[in-house]
């Protein structure tokens, strides 16, 4: 029980990921049917995705999309910080970009544009313009980075699956079977003949 509470319960997602990964790997290595192998491969890959998503999950973390009041507050802060006078009036329905352009056209936007430009150039080091600090609580949102990585991994997975299936079809066309042992037997029989 001590083992369970100490090692399993706090990490149960990770335990399941390992189990799924083992199932997938086992199928990839030992299954005889080629399509089964590919299904195993997909399970193997989803297990890895499960691992990544689990590591980015947060207790009480929301989906990583700003909505509602936080978005409103953020918008307001941005408008005040960068829109200057232009957007101060009604930050609630923040001007879409086009309107904003026409808005600021009335103003003498010469140095405003300059400011924006210089802002764009060096926004890496904005450590000291923290006037919006605290609007977004980083702990309230799930970590977006693993999600991004896993989108890519899913794409890679489906591409690999497709290529694998195409090869399976070609093997079936050449050998008339998708059982590995039968294919190997036929290969052995055809040994010596090339091609």
């Amino acid at each position: 029980m001590g083992f369970l509470t100490q090692y399993v319960i706090p990490h149960f997602n990770f335990w399941i990921y390992v189990i799924l990964l083992m199932i997938g790997l086992y199928a990839m290595i030992t299954k005889n049917n080629l399509i089964k192998k590919l299904i195993g491969m997909s399970i193997f890959q989803t297990a890895i995705i499960l691992f990544y998503v689990s590591l980015g999950a947060k207790e009480g973390g929301r989906i990583p999309i700003l909505t509602g009041e936080v978005l409103y507050a953020e918008k307001k802060a941005q408008a005040v910080a960068y829109g200057g006078e232009a957007a101060k009036g009604d930050a609630a329905d923040l001007p879409p970009p086009m309107e904003k352009e026409s808005d600021s056209a009335d103003l003498d936007d010469g140095d405003l544009t300059d400011e924006l430009l210089s802002y764009g150039k060096n926004f890496g080091d904005d450590s000291d313009d923290d006037d919006d600090e605290g609007i977004i609580d980083p702990d309230a949102y799930a970590n977006p980075l693993p999600h991004v990585l896993m989108l890519t991994a899913i794409v890679v997975g489906v591409a690999t699956l497709g290529v694998g299936l195409a090869i399976v079809q070609m093997i079936y066309r050449e050998y008339g079977t998708i059982e590995e042992d039968e294919i190997l037997a036929k290969v052995k029989k055809g040994e010596g003949k090339y091609g």
Binding site: W15, V18, L25, E59, G61, P64, Y82, L116, P144, G162
Partner: protein, 254 residues
């Protein structure tokens, strides 16, 4: 073989488990991965730097845009590889290789299925375009939208037959659309390079785009990039289906 496989699996499992014990707790907001500089930066600064409320979209299309471009290339590569393996792209129907398996008995063009699909597919496609375009505010983006759009073509090809699908998207267009998608993506990078910034640095694009400032330029560029991804994914998904369902002969189908 079985024993060896089992051994390999258990060794791997034991290895992975041994580290799991060392991990931070599941869902711990203070774990290095979640509280690290990079992750906090993404959560806190994304809106400020890109005006995109969906952090995943922003990170995907901007911060890690280079990855996403190659993700698109991966899809394209997969499509080309599948076409190559199944020996497609003769751009003419190949006959006499292996006869296509006999079709199931009965009327294939079922009227109920056909009508339902006719009604459903425009809705699906509209939804797909919405997903592509609205990725900044809600889950979705070029990839998801592209898959759904591709799936609508696949659905049409399944409901009628492959020729009906190919009439909408001919064989020649598979790869052309795939290439166009990646090129759309690349153009945003190359223009940035041309303007003296690094590849995919959208902020300088406000000089050539109807965007007021560097941040809005990022915002709009991401949309453009997503459209590029959607192009490639749509075309390649349908291409993969068309080739896989007919063994590369593009005749018959499911």
């Amino acid at each position: 073989m079985k024993i060896f496989g089992l051994l390999a699996v258990f060794v791997t499992g034991a290895l992975l488990i041994s580290a799991v014990v060392d991990f931070p707790d599941f869902g711990d907001p203070e774990s290095p991965a979640n509280a690290g500089e990079v992750a906090t930066h993404f959560v806190e600064k994304t809106y400020e730097e890109t005006h995109v409320p969906n952090m995943v979209t922003a990170v995907l299309a901007d911060y890690r845009g280079y990855d996403t471009m190659f993700e698109t290339v991966v899809i394209f590569t997969g499509g080309v590889a599948i076409i190559a393996i199944l020996q497609g792209l003769g751009l003419r129907r190949k006959k006499g290789m292996v006869p296509t398996p006999p079709r199931a008995e009965g009327d294939h063009h079922d009227i109920i299925i056909g009508t339902t699909c006719r009604i459903l597919i425009p809705v699906i496609q509209l939804f797909a375009l919405y997903v592509v375009a609205h990725g900044h505010y809600s889950p979705g983006g070029g990839f998801q939208g592209g898959v759904i759009l591709g799936a609508s073509f696949i659905l049409w090809a399944i409901a009628r037959d492959l020729d009906a699908g190919l009439a909408r998207m001919p064989e020649r267009r598979f790869l052309v659309l795939g290439v166009v998608g990646i090129l759309i993506y690349g153009v945003f990078g190359w223009v940035a390079q041309f303007l003296g910034a690094n590849f995919l640095d959208y902020s300088v694009l406000h000089e050539v785009m109807p965007a007021t400032d560097p941040i809005m330029a990022r915002y709009h560029s991401m949309l453009g990039v997503e459209v590029g991804v959607a192009f490639t994914v749509t075309a390649i998904m349908f291409a993969i289906y068309a080739h896989l369902s007919t063994r590369g002969e593009l005749e018959g189908g499911l």
